[in-house]
Symmetry: C2
DNA sequence: AAGGATTTGTACGTATGTATT
DNA sequence: TAATACATACGTACAAATCCT
């Protein structure tokens, strides 16, 4: 054999060789990738090995494969990005900061018909409404409003949210951390109103990030959360590599 | 054989069976997944088939695999989300809207040492600075400031950005759409200042989403873009399913 | 500390099915 | 219809990592 050293596994080498050709632009979008038999010959390996490498690229969205037609470099799509929206408590503690949560209010009531986000959550059924303040290094950091459907998560009615913020409680709950099947985030900029400004100790009208999160289990909505981050102290960041599909 | 109809392929059936057990909570985080030989026996198939299904789950981050130790359900991580940050022009046209771009200014200059985002882009080397307005349905929609390193992308010096917004130009350029290897987004809320407010036709101080984007090719930074979206007209949305890893 | 057992990782070669041209 | 190229699956083999004795 001619190979003295194998820097990685064979299928991974094929994978990265092709990926590099695509990312460098040598193989442009729409270009045809050599057929599996050609790659077999080129690398002197079995077809299963080639197939594993190329199928992985297809699963990652870098190429498209069609029977009989062949494999082609996919069109790039810049739109899809990964944004980290961290758990505030975990993030703070990891960075050596002090974290606190102050429960501002907690009440049970029925969903109001005139507010669409509540109606979707529970058509007239009981809701748990929570409001609280995330505190980082003894300064207010974010304001959270949460609605939990008691029809779906009756256990929440008995939980003590003074010690643990509801987000962490939901995450740590052995069953509940897995009940959701779909989620949606909406990110907006808002001028903060007087009341919330007072709680966050910033001046009225300051631009803040509002992150809304909804979760579902199947067709049933479980929670609605709206978190308003102090605009001067928080931004979302994402680092990523080009994706295709 | 007992199977009359095969709803999908075998490895996909194994894949979804396991995924359902995890997502339903029947197999909690940390739980051990049956070893491959057990799954072989259970499904009456070869190890390669089991391996393909379980390896795909590992690649997707739902489970972790370790030689000799076994395969385990991964801890859920809520932090990682997918946010669509669409190309404004493509998005607008797809929805049947009218799109326009107005170039406000364009000049070449050297990077200023006192502005860190410029210095990282080109240490004293020439930059192309562009400012422009995205217009949707004849109303201003977003304000864009862009810096392009002419050392990395000399072709940009000759391009006509009156017809095509620079973002689309970069995307459509056959070579340039593939040169970047890394990118970063930063999303903040800002109170818009007077000058920009006038261009966007909103009142000064309105909360707007500011999306900063940096792209690199290896160690070299290629572009820095800051887009300020009219706060009342734009929000980011993401829909996703639980992820693990 | 050494060695055997277990479990996943990679790869081979073969076979057959399926979608598309 | 026939040929092509990918899709799935089988059974085998050996390697690598790790756990247990």
């Amino acid at each position: 054999m001619s190979r003295q050293r194998r820097p990685q596994t064979l299928y991974r080498r094929i994978h990265t060789d092709i990926e590099n050709k695509i990312r460098s632009g040598e193989w442009a979008a729409g270009a045809r990738i050599p057929v599996e038999h050609a790659l077999m010959a080129q690398y002197g390996c079995a077809r299963a090995t080639v197939n594993k490498a190329v199928s992985a690229l297809a699963a990652a969205g870098l190429i498209e494969r069609h029977r009989r037609a062949g494999s082609f470099v996919a069109q790039p799509r810049i739109q899809s990005e990964v944004v980290e929206i961290p758990d505030i408590q975990a993030q703070t503690v990891r960075q050596g900061g002090q974290y606190g949560f102050r429960l501002l209010s907690r009440r049970m009531r029925n969903a109001a018909a005139r507010r669409p986000e509540e109606l979707a959550l529970a058509r007239g059924e009981p809701l748990l409404e929570l409001r609280g303040l995330h505190i980082v290094n003894e300064r207010p950091f974010a304001l959270e409003e949460r609605l939990i459907s008691l029809a779906v998560v009756p256990e929440a009615g008995a939980a003590d949210f003074h010690a643990l913020p509801p987000g962490s409680w939901l995450l740590q709950h052995p069953i509940l951390s897995k009940v959701w099947t779909d989620a949606e985030h909406r990110i907006n900029a808002v001028n903060i109103e007087a009341l919330a400004a007072g709680l966050l100790e910033i001046s009225q009208g300051t631009a803040c990030l509002a992150v809304e999160r909804r979760t579902w289990r199947g067709e049933e909505q479980i929670t609605y959360v709206r978190t308003i981050f102090r605009g001067d102290a928080y931004g979302l960041t994402a680092r990523f590599k080009p994706d295709r599909g």
